[in-house]
């Protein structure tokens, strides 16, 4: 199956290793990955900050870029959430019914990584090995917009050598929320502080999640406090073949 990689602008610009891991994982599983190079950004930041008309060119760009793919995958619940739940509605509100219809077709074949692996490719054991103590934070949009449920945990449980520990109050938001982190920085930081407290309670070496944006937020708090825990994207763990120590 030829899988189109929707790498997301954040991963492209700031976390390229997440994109590389996604490619390597899917190739290891025997699939062809293509990267439509005309992709830029899905426009979620514009939509969620109120700039819907400025999001229209981005939705059009995204739709053009992925129309030729059989199936599309992104290492992000949030960006897939925007494609699936916002694009056609925003296009329709702007009166662009053609774009709305086309973006619905893209939405129907776009999957978050754990969805693609389990629901489309039917695989839970991806052959990974990652000998570290790991806790998993389910990001809000993967949990409540996409309803991925336990899929990421099902994948992680098959990883060799992993010491998977439960995160207390896992389903609580980390406080990122896109421009919320800037517009309501104090509240956002208070939410982050509680999330970090729970992460540290697990004594995990690594906190993982399916969204680089939420991980960026948590990492920003953890390196500021210089705590002994780092963030690693789910795709990187699933791509890892690091042998047990």
């Amino acid at each position: 199956m030829r899988i189109g990689l929707f790498v997301t602008c954040l991963v492209d610009a700031l976390y390229p290793e997440v994109g590389k891991a996604t490619v390597q994982l899917l190739e290891r599983l025997g699939h062809d990955v293509e990267f439509p190079e005309t992709q830029t950004c899905c426009g979620q930041m514009h939509i969620n900050t109120g700039y819907q008309s400025q999001a229209i060119p981005l939705i059009a760009r995204h739709t053009d870029a992925f129309e030729g793919c059989d199936v599309v995958v992104a290492p992000s619940g949030s960006c897939v959430g925007s494609v699936r739940h916002q694009h056609s509605a925003v296009a329709r509100r702007a009166g662009d019914h053609d774009l709305a219809r086309r973006s619905e077709a893209i939405a129907a074949k776009t999957f978050e990584l754990s969805e693609l692996l389990i629901d489309v490719l039917g695989i839970e054991d991806v052959g990974a090995s990652y000998p570290h103590r790991v806790t998993y934070h389910p990001t809000c949009h993967s949990l409540r917009l996409l309803r991925v449920g336990d899929k990421p945990l099902s994948l992680l449980r098959y990883v060799r050598g992993i010491d998977l520990v439960a995160l207390p109050d896992a389903d609580q938001c980390c406080g990122f929320g896109g421009t919320f982190a800037l517009k309501n920085a104090d509240t956002s930081a208070a939410m982050l502080a509680d999330k970090m407290t729970h992460i540290l309670e697990t004594r995990a070496d690594v906190v993982t999640a399916g969204d680089s944006s939420c991980l960026m937020h948590m990492a920003g708090g953890m390196t500021r406090l210089e705590v002994d825990c780092r963030t690693v994207h789910l795709a990187e763990i699933l791509a890892s073949t690091e042998p047990a120590a």
């Binding site: 390229p16 062809d32 760009r61 509240t187």
Partner: protein, 513 residues
Amino acid sequence: MTATFLGMPRVAPRGVGALRGEQSFPAAARQALADDQLRRNLGHATFTIRAKRAAVVAEVEDWEELRLAGEAIKTATMARLDEHLERLEKSVQSRGGVVHWARDAREANQIVTELVQATGESEVIKVKSMATQEIGLNEALADAGIAAYETDLAELIVQLGHDKPSHILVPAIHRNRSEIRDIFLREMGDVDPSLSDDPAALAETARRHLRAKFLSAKVAVSGVNFAIAETGTCLVVESEGNGRMCLTLPDTLITVMGIEKVLPTWQDLEVFLQLLPRSSTGERMNPYTSAWTGVTPGDGPRAFHLVLVDNGRTAVLSDEIGRAALNCIRCSACLNVCPVYERVGGHAYGSIYPGPIGAVLSPQLTGVEDNASLPYASSLCGACFDACPVRIDIPNLLVNLRAQHVEAYAEQHRLPSAEAIAMAAASWAMSEPTRFVRGERLGRVGRLLGRKGRIRRLPPPMSAWSRARDAPLPPSETFRDWWVRTRGGTPGETPGGTREGTAGDAPGTRGDT
């Protein structure tokens, strides 16, 4: 037949009622976050009530179907709201009640004030009611020399404390029991100074204080949880029984209801009387459900007035997406699960309607310019939607309101805001791959700001981020550049990557050291 355009429906007027705060949400939130006692009280209370709700919701097998039914009934009712209201009016009249229509808070306050004055009384007792809080009825009555006594225990605490409610269901949630004891000792006058902060002792003290009012008051004011159009029956659900005292003992009962509270039939109640108590107090059933239909000679009040209040609701109804906010049954489940509410409390929202539902309801009732910071008071985590018993998609409503706010600002100002300029620039840069790539390369200057793989201080407007958080250092090679380097192709020119070259770098290593 000719059509006359009557203009767009009016929003709730300024200068009356409790729908507008004095400061923006971020400013009020900052103050609230600095109050450790408040955060402890809120954290404890919301945690407890969340757990109770989760337990009683889990035991209902068809909870999701009930939510769908609640949503469907409310949506259908709102679609023919005018017809249901006229039917309600006729039903109430046929049972001896008097119906008044109030366009806004000011008209509603005036109607109630005149009704009380006509009785010759200067005191009223009140059943807990959001609608009367919304229109500022107590203040309007006070201006006319009429004292209004709250009889709901939590509302009494708020009133005696010269305070404002901070939660829809638990208005004194920001107070702990020792603070409540202090308020009772200070304000009630005839309280034993050795009063403990034991909840039972506090409740007994309030009971004695209120009983005198119940026995002497001639006029009561209430709201409703539901009003049934087919029979003209009003209902109040409560936990304490104080509401029932107010509804049965006085001679005159004046009920103030927002027009969205109407339900067509008794059958509809079956759904909501299951959804509401489990969602609000986390109980299978609330202790008291009082229903009354007009007046019944020899039983209860001899005069009944129903005041139907619009106060911006028709304006909300005119918005295709936003109108879902009118489906709210005021259970407050969304407050209890909201990570923002849990940390800042209800006062930060300014309006009497706090939390996620307040963030979508208040700006619509007042017009978004008067509560412009509320649609942004959410991380869009979606916990509110999952908890909502009538499935109001609050995140979607918030996003819709943000768009309306941005568009209204652009219409009213000749110069765009700094944010609008940044957003337009970002849209321009990201809508073409060549410009996007140039932007990414430009972003690499960020590497100059950091060391040890992170940036500790960002320039404005990003400085709000770096007050509490580091920012990542941009990598020396973007994903796109890596793809082109290892797989061929030219950034921004050929759509669709080709698969030449090898598997590339190992995952988990960053090319930025």
